[in-house]
Amino acid sequence: MARENNMAVPEFLREAELLKQGAEARVYRAEFLGRPTIVKERFPKRYRHPALDEKLTHRRTVQEVRAILRCRRAGISAPVVYFVDYTCHCIFLEEIVGSSTVRDYIASAQQSDSCKELKLQRLAERVGQVLAKMHDEDVIHGDLTTSNMLLRPSPEGGESDLVLIDFGLSYISALPEDKGVDLYVLEKAFLSTHPNTEELFEKLLKSYKASSKKSSAVIKKLDEVRLRGRKRSMVG
């Protein structure tokens, strides 16, 4: 079996810096082909049947890679994919050097008092625009949080670029229902991470509505989802 005799990546990762360990994957930082790189490794889950585990892990790796490419083709910034190893389910991605998460940006803007309103409103507008574009491409991110959005400083010193990351739960769907749930997940995460930002999130949604061609059906679904929660009722 290929998984056993291919030790190159596991050996490489042993020397790499572990950044984060989640339930689904481990994220490392390393230099790859001379460039600063992030490696996302989906490790085997022992609690699952091996055949099922292999299939699920493979499919998620493929979905992640596809969503990144689809976003980039539409002009939405996402990390460049350098290499994918389907035998040990590792994705080698461009490291967004010098970036900070939108989460940290909002938190520090809330601390400081100089023109924070304007800065935060501009950011909310930008996020709304990017998500509208992503949903118009029928990409559902699946895990929208302010930690999965990065701000990359632009080289010319202008407005920084919003980069979406972690497409591990993403999939392709044109259903307003799925897009509505995507926004609902963000709303929950946004309001619980950043207290007293209801107005800011409203701004984000307003910008989403203005930018997306198909927003009215999505917002209608969002209102429905808010009443019933993320899971669709199975009654009847």
Binding site: A8, G34, R35, V62, V65, I68, V84
Partner: protein, 204 residues
């Protein structure tokens, strides 16, 4: 000053990738023939389809990986490097676009050496009737219009990253993008994996 670009592969520490660029090449047809006969242990690439030496490094890394896990789509490491550069899964198409043609006046030679098999770089360089230039000059030879068309790079995409980013992303992900191709194309691409590939340049 050294003209070749030598880079190590972090995943395969005993492998090194060497790139050499030649201009004003007069014997492209002869070089191509030697490569097909297995006399040149390297990949001969048409530099106009390359944006940056990094593109070749990505292709070489993937080729070495696929060789190790026994999942190569072509017969040799060097044909696999050429195949990996292409955005499609059509092998003959990859050779037509990324391999050299008889009349070409520039060529990029890529060699991969490992501990058990070191290559004589100067021996291969001596076969080329042309002028060796630093590999960095590659960018002056690349045909961006043709590259954008072949990789289907959209204008929006260029706003969020470089052409090299777009190209590398497609190379790295092409194996899972087959699902997006129409079925007949998929069938055709796979049918070329059989041993009688018409443009199999490199034989062992």
């Amino acid at each position: 000053m050294r003209m070749h670009l030598i880079q190590k592969l972090e995943l395969f520490p005993d492998h090194r990738v060497t790139q050499m660029l030649f201009k004003e090449v007069k014997n492209a047809a002869e070089l191509k023939k030697s490569a097909m006969e297995g006399k040149i242990n390297g990949a001969l690439i048409n530099p106009t389809m390359l944006v940056d030496p990094f593109q070749v490094l990505v292709a070489a890394n993937k080729a070495v990986h696929l060789e190790k896990v026994e999942k190569m789509k072509t017969r040799t490491l060097y044909s696999e490097i050429i195949f990996n550069l292409s955005p499609t899964n059509n092998i003959s198409d990859a050779f037509k676009r990324f391999g050299i043609s008889d009349g070409d006046d520039s060529v990029l030679i890529v060699m991969v050496d490992s501990k058990d098999e070191s290559q004589d770089v100067s021996d291969i360089a001596a076969r080329v009737e042309g002028r060796q230039v630093p590999v960095e000059e590659l960018s002056s030879l690349s045909d961006h219009t043709k590259i954008k068309k072949l990789y289907k790079v959209t204008p929006q995409e260029e706003k969020c990253g470089s052409l090299l980013d777009a190209v590398v992303c497609r190379m790295a992900t092409k194996d899972v993008m087959t699902g997006l191709l129409p079925a007949p194309l998929l069938f055709f691409g796979h049918s070329l994996n059989v041993p009688f590939c018409p443009l199999e340049q490199f034989k062992c």
